[in-house]
Symmetry: C2
Subunit: 292 residues, 2 copies
């Protein structure tokens, strides 16, 4: 039995940075410290943050004081302005890569270009990006939505930083027919691209693959889809306890991968559970051999 944890899997730079900023802010600030939305799509880490005194809030309606941490996904300029009007202290932990995409969207909007943003309409990063587009942005979730777009002489297309590269390529390809001059900005961050590549590489080498992460994590969902395209024995789990002996049946080589918000200890727990399950199984088999 062999267990391989995918290279480049687990917590990305932007999420690690936001976690550090949040903890430092808590240490150094008086008054309440809240994150606007969950800082990371991982229930265990969110619990730990709560214990340390960092709560997460979903909207700003009743907020009147304290510090608000903008998570790595970033927010639209409206939210920034609202916080300023409310005189709430802002600590901006937007991932620097997302910040660059926000600036790109703003620049393209300033140039009066139509900007196609490839991502999930409900994802916080997309909600932020569209806010920078001054009404020039169009969110596209898949290539079939391109059919409804009119022909344009010129337009730009970019992606959510954690987008599935394959899907982004398909949307861009479909846009070619509809556009005279299409500028494609590959804004998928390097760590997402390498994570997707090493996960799909691993999926082609193992008998079963576990994608570990929050069910509401968009990039972890994409990893699952990428692996599932290659290996039908791909399982999406939030915690090690969800791994069952049935999932491991007939599997000798097992892979583990996690999204940008999956801490390394969660990956290790999954590996331990698989190891233990195998040990129990071989003990049972030995006992059976001795009895017969």
């Amino acid at each position: 039995m062999e267990i391989i944890i995918a290279k480049n899997s687990g917590l990305c730079y932007g999420v690690k940075r936001a976690l550090n900023i949040a903890k430092r802010t808590r240490r150094e600030s008086a008054g309440k410290v809240r994150t606007l939305g969950a800082l990371i799509h991982n229930p265990q880490v969110i619990r730990d943050l709560k214990i340390q005194g960092i709560d997460s809030i979903e909207n700003l309606d009743d907020l009147r004081e304290g510090t608000v941490i903008i998570r790595s996904h970033g927010v639209s300029p409206d939210i920034h302005q609202l916080l300023k009007r409310k005189k709430i202290r802002i600590v901006d932990a937007t991932c620097p890569i997302v910040k660059k995409i926000q600036k790109l969207v703003a620049l393209l909007a300033e140039e009066n270009q139509e900007v196609i943003i490839v991502g999930n309409r409900e994802h916080p990063e997309i909600k932020g990006l569209i806010g920078f587009s001054r009404g020039k942005g169009i969110i596209i979730e898949n290539e079939s939505q391109v059919k409804n777009l009119p022909y344009r002489k010129k337009r730009a297309v970019l992606a959510q930083s954690t987008q599935d590269l394959f899907l982004f390529e398909k949307v861009a390809a479909a846009l070619i027919e509809k556009t005279g001059e299409l500028t494609v900005y590959n804004t998928i961050c390097h760590s997402t691209q390498t994570r997707q590549k090493s996960t799909s590489q691993l999926a082609s080498e193992v008998d079963a693959l576990f994608i570990v992460g929050g069910k509401n994590s968009s990039n972890t969902n994409k990893l699952y889809q990428i692996s599932k395209r290659i290996l039908s024995a791909t399982y999406f789990i939030e915690q090690a306890e969800q791994i069952t002996p049935k999932m491991l049946r007939k599997a000798n080589k097992i892979g583990i991968s996690g999204g940008a918000s999956t801490p390394p200890e969660v990956l290790r727990e999954a590996a331990d559970r698989i190891k233990n399950s195998f040990q129990r199984q071989s003990q049972r088999e030995n006992r059976h051999l001795c009895q017969t």
Copy 2:
């Protein structure tokens, strides 16, 4: 039995225009009139032109006088200069759409951009286009060749005017991974796009489809590939005589399409041959019925 000739098939504007320019030039010029390379990839038309006194030459080495017609594919600036040095009269019948692509390549090269040109290395249009790129152009024939390219922060990609849109999209999609900012110029001419679309539409509706045109016509070859992807009973023929009863067996609905260099009379001849073949077949069947 039903025979359908694909909409938008046959001679395109650029080829028709070049033919008219050649004939007018012949009428209005003293001395020899030659085309540099075959004016059209169609043996019948080439024969007609020869009878009218318009010969085709393959290179300029021994040429010392007369008029040279540049065909719709265009030529590289080197050839223009060589003709000028030789003091040979040039009549430029380059398709206006190809001329626009040549200007685009020259402009991108002037801006010091790497330009990927998607097309067949041996195609005269590509040979012309690469000449405008001042060493900044790279010819790519299919998406697998993209693998060998290095990462670039910025590059541009465009296509031979008669390229297969599907192949162009695949190459552009593959380039996204290798490029930070990729500008995709959809330089496939409108008539090529509509011809490809109506041929693939027809391929999905008929029992057999005949692609009629010169075997050395790049765009006709592409039509054949496009149709073959959809309908295995696709046949590439140069002349009506190549249609055999075996090809028509079990086919009730038959399609015909031709490339940018296929004259309408060649398409009509194919339709007539199919009609006659069916009539002969039903006469045979009637006779057989009367005898039994």
